[in-house]
Symmetry: C2
Subunit: 280 residues, 2 copies
């Protein structure tokens, strides 16, 4: 079984992003990502620091907007302000959000041209229609990893476990656009192992540690593990029991070091593209 190296792919993607950013900077414009934060959750703070540090390396400035007190209206106002600000090229809205506000509702306040993590439902709809739009970076990362690994997608059976707006649904649309036959499973799916074992491509995005074992995987399948479940000792594990599937799968992405770094790299790539098209 091959263990797919997400960090190596991320490095390649960063090199491309750096070139795009350099062109924009040379034209006299800074490249700025606005990040709205309405929580004191340490995991969110950690994620913001990791994005900021990756952004710095490719010449992108992160402007964090802390919403305090953390109210729904405060979040929407912050997103409206960043959408209207000509100096801001891309916008992300970090979770968790204040009670009563969904990410999709917040996303509707992100200008689609700056919606670099595909949080606005309009972006998803445009994606479904084949119109230009940013996909959520995690879904995009899954496709990028499959492409990079040379996996044929036309006519193959792809099974996605999870139906979120951030991964499952946009990924199903992206896989359909690649001409895969796509099945979406979730917590109500009966005989999950039987359904997932149909997948030449299997994507686990359920947010449940160890959900996918050997019995869930078709021999030789490529398995993309989107799960990021915190462990008791402060680490991170995916939805796939990697040791168990080793003898069955053709390839698996590790957690950490698989989808995560590619996602961050693509998110920053989207910011660079947004900046290039807005300055053009």
């Amino acid at each position: 079984m091959t263990l797919i190296d997400g960090r190596a792919l991320a490095a390649e993607l960063r090199a491309r992003t750096l070139a795009t950013v350099d062109t924009t900077l040379a034209a006299g414009s800074a490249v700025t990502l606005g990040a709205v934060v309405a929580t004191s959750d340490p995991a969110t703070a950690w994620y913001l620091r990791s994005i900021s540090s990756a952004a710095e390396k490719v010449g992108i400035t992160v402007r964090a907007v802390l919403v305090e007190p953390a109210t729904p209206d405060g979040v929407l106002d912050a997103l409206d302000a960043l959408s209207a600000d000509r100096d801001v090229d891309g916008i992300i809205c970090l979770t968790p959000l204040p009670h009563g506000l969904s990410l999709a509702q917040a996303g509707e306040h992100i200008d689609p041209a700056k919606d670099v993590d595909g949080a606005n439902p309009t972006s998803l709809g445009r994606l479904a229609a084949g119109l230009p739009a940013f996909a959520p970076a995690t879904a995009q990362a899954t496709i990028e990893i499959l492409r990079h690994s040379g996996t044929a997608l036309v006519g193959v059976e792809a099974v996605v476990v999870g139906r979120s707006m951030v991964v499952g649904k946009p990924l199903a649309l992206l896989l359909l656009a690649e001409h895969a036959t796509v099945t979406v499973c979730h917590s109500h799916t009966r005989e999950l192992a039987q359904v997932t074992a149909r997948g030449d491509v299997l994507v686990a995005a359920a947010g449940q540690a160890g959900l996918i074992g050997a019995g869930h995987v078709k021999p030789g399948a490529i398995v993309i593990d989107v799960g990021t479940n915190p462990t008791a000792d402060g680490g991170l594990v995916g939805d796939v029991d990697t040791a168990a599937v080793e003898s069955v799968a053709g390839a698996v992405t590790p957690v950490p070091g698989g989808v995560g770094p590619v996602t961050t790299a693509l998110l920053l790539g989207n910011v660079a593209r947004a900046a290039a098209s807005q300055s053009g």
Copy 2:
């Protein structure tokens, strides 16, 4: 095998719509559906007449806007004008459209509040997010028929053949919202019969006469035939070979008289709902 009577269900739905329209009319507002037509195709003219005649029966006025010459800009201008017109409650854009303009591109010029046939990609995105939105009436009709027939959807395998923006994609999202495990097939799917035969619910929306035969259907499955393929003698046939599947399927919708009348009834119901919420 049961043959599902779409006309009877449509009559029930019309009675509900009539009540909603009556309330709006009693409040002093007419209920108006704007229809943009940019073709001299006789099938489109026939469809417009059939909608107008059904609308008349429930007290809805259809205002047809003929775009001549049929240019993309002409269509967009007509949709913008209807979107801005306070006397118009719902808007549909009939196909075929002028070369170079997709229905999704046109749909972006329909105010989502008036997008009664779910043509705006924003409507699809909102649908995916579980936010209030109109679904394309054909996709909505499929769900309505399944509900009305008492088909359990939670955890069952639903297979959709076709991935259009009008049926396949929105229907996949609606079926996911009903907690079905959903597979979307299309022209690149290998071993189509093997995949469709997994479906407790099978929806044929490929636009290919007779595509679905006995070998494609799981014994006892409910089969919804969304196909409307013109025949040489001026008639209409679906994607399902109804005679062939008779001995296998549990129930099938006929063409004509199945999904079609329910779609028209739901479209007019959406216009009535749009009018009620805009006058509220």
